[in-house]
Amino acid sequence: MIKKKVILNFSPENVERPVTYQLIKKYDLWVNILQAKFEPKLGGKLLLELNGSEDQIKEGLSFVRQIGVEVMLLEQEVLWDEKRCIDCGACVSICPTGVLSLDQMTYKLKFDYEKCIVCGNCVEACPLQAIKVTF
């Protein structure tokens, strides 16, 4: 079993296809929907975490590509150096997916890795250089 994070980009033409259902049913994958954003006439975006064997994931994704949905693999990960972090919050407001927030009790930074799409915004916003993207 391996885990992979992917972003699926739907166009207006294929936005109605039951992709997650097929991935679960036909390819026997565990699918975790980390984020979903859909607009009726414009298409949409799905951030998924897939759990399964390497082959299952490969086949599942080639099926998704076949029906015209763009697939982006998230190979990279962000690394947060908690010791360097001063909880200034400069990274919070530029994160597009709400991964970063300040706890309303402690005002310390919370990092909800699950939803991260590795866009790199926080990397350039952190004045302490406490966040890095790995390759």
Binding site: I86, C88, S101, N121, P127
Partner: protein, 384 residues
């Protein structure tokens, strides 16, 4: 109620002083009222930990043999100002490195010095009869040099704008990255914990006040540069205090990187994140009232940083309670906020200062002189 500095210090020495932070005082005053709180509490401690560009260090390296009158000096490739006596320099926090540019600068040298690291020193000179040497390369540490004094001409800004960007491109500012179309809003004070918002009229804070500076005990040396306190009131009676600043000084050798950090704002440059805590002696009810200020009563202005001129347009006012919740509404749009100044660290500093006073290690110092009150900010006019 009236209390003197001497009475407070006597209580501190005998372990009887009652001290709370500027956050802890809020529910106390809400419950007991100003008068009773003022009777019970001797000192309120404040704190702030944010980027403060106008910072730097005075260093004296000692003389080499043969001696050199240093005319140009670099520390880890960051130039320090050497137009002083032979081996004195002023290292500015924002000076970029000549080899790594914005990734490293004066602030990083200061952080490295504090953490005890070896710093590469290079100096050149024309050579004189009394100082024949023309060049020196060596390594220094904070222990190997005579003085290392942090002297920051402008720190602890009383209040600051909220920065937004109405243009259609991302901009890189000293207020962080601002996303187009008011995509985010950045602010930078510790609000209800902030020193100069808890004594907004400088009743107890003045020249000579002993403070917590970067983990050590320091002093207020003077009013900060651009000191121009203003009290603005709008139609609804909302008060905005702004414009107060502090020049602070302290022994860098005693400081800790827990409370002083180097930072780089992408596209803007290097700066120093400075931790400052100031104790406010509760000398009377009025001082108590001011020290009990809370986020919802501290207002600031939302300013459009995409406007390239000195006076930038305002998009309205907002208070720190709203800002701290993480979202504000601007022109009907829900906008996420970022603090830049660490509230968690500000809280830690106020807490530490409280503990140091409780342990009798930190006595209160009455200002030797109050700040000059009438002070107006002058722009730089271009004259020919």
């Amino acid at each position: 109620m009236q209390r003197t500095y001497e009475e407070i210090n006597t209580k501190i020495r005998s372990g009887k002083a009652v001290i709370v932070t500027a956050e802890e005082i809020i529910p106390i005053v809400e419950e007991k009222g100003i008068k009773r709180a003022a009777e019970e509490i001797d000192v309120v401690t404040t704190g702030t930990f944010g980027p403060m560009c106008s910072s730097g260090a005075i260093l004296n390296f000692g003389h080499s043999d043969p001696p050199i009158r240093m005319q140009k000096v670099w520390l880890n490739n960051v130039e320090a100002y050497a137009g002083l006596a032979a081996v004195d320099v002023y290292l500015g926090a924002t000076q970029p490195s000549e080899s790594q540019e914005m990734e490293y600068g004066g602030a990083h040298v200061i952080e490295d010095l504090i953490s005890g690291k070896k710093i590469k020193l290079k100096a050149i000179s024309q050579g004189t009869d009394c100082y024949p040497r023309r060049e020196i390369e060596s390594y220094i540490t904070k222990e190997s040099i005579n003085q290392a004094v942090l002297f920051n001409p402008r720190n602890g800004y009383q209040n600051y704008n909220v920065a937004v960007n109405t243009s259609d491109r991302k901009i890189y500012t000293y207020m962080g990255i601002l996303l187009p179309h008011i995509g985010n809003a950045n602010y930078s004070t510790s609000s209800q914990l902030s020193p100069l918002l808890n004594d907004p009229q400088f009743r107890t804070i003045g020249i000579g006040t002993r403070i917590f500076l970067g983990g050590a005990q320091g002093y207020i040396a003077w009013e900060g540069t651009q000191f121009s306190p203003q009290i603005l009131k709008d139609e609804e009676g909302k008060v905005i205090y702004k414009g107060g600043t502090l020049a602070v000084i302290g022994n860098l050798k005693e400081m800790s990187t827990d409370y002083i950090r180097a930072a780089t704002f992408k596209g803007y440059g290097v700066t120093l994140v400075v931790g400052i805590g100031i104790p406010i002696p509760i000398l009377n009810d009025e001082i108590m009232r001011n020290a009990a200020v809370k986020d919802e009563d501290i207002w600031t202005e939302i300013i459009d940083y995409s406007f390239p001129h000195l006076i930038k347009p305002s998009l309205g006012r907002v208070n720190y309670k709203q800002l701290r919740e993480g979202n504000i509404t601007i022109r009907g749009k829900n906008v996420p906020t970022s603090p830049l100044s660490s509230y968690a660290k500000a809280r830690e500093i106020a807490q530490r200062l409280k503990e140091e006073i409780l342990r009798g290690k930190f006595l209160l110092q009455e200002p030797i002189r109050k700040f000059t009150e009438e002070s107006k900010l002058k722009p730089l006019l271009e004259k020919r």
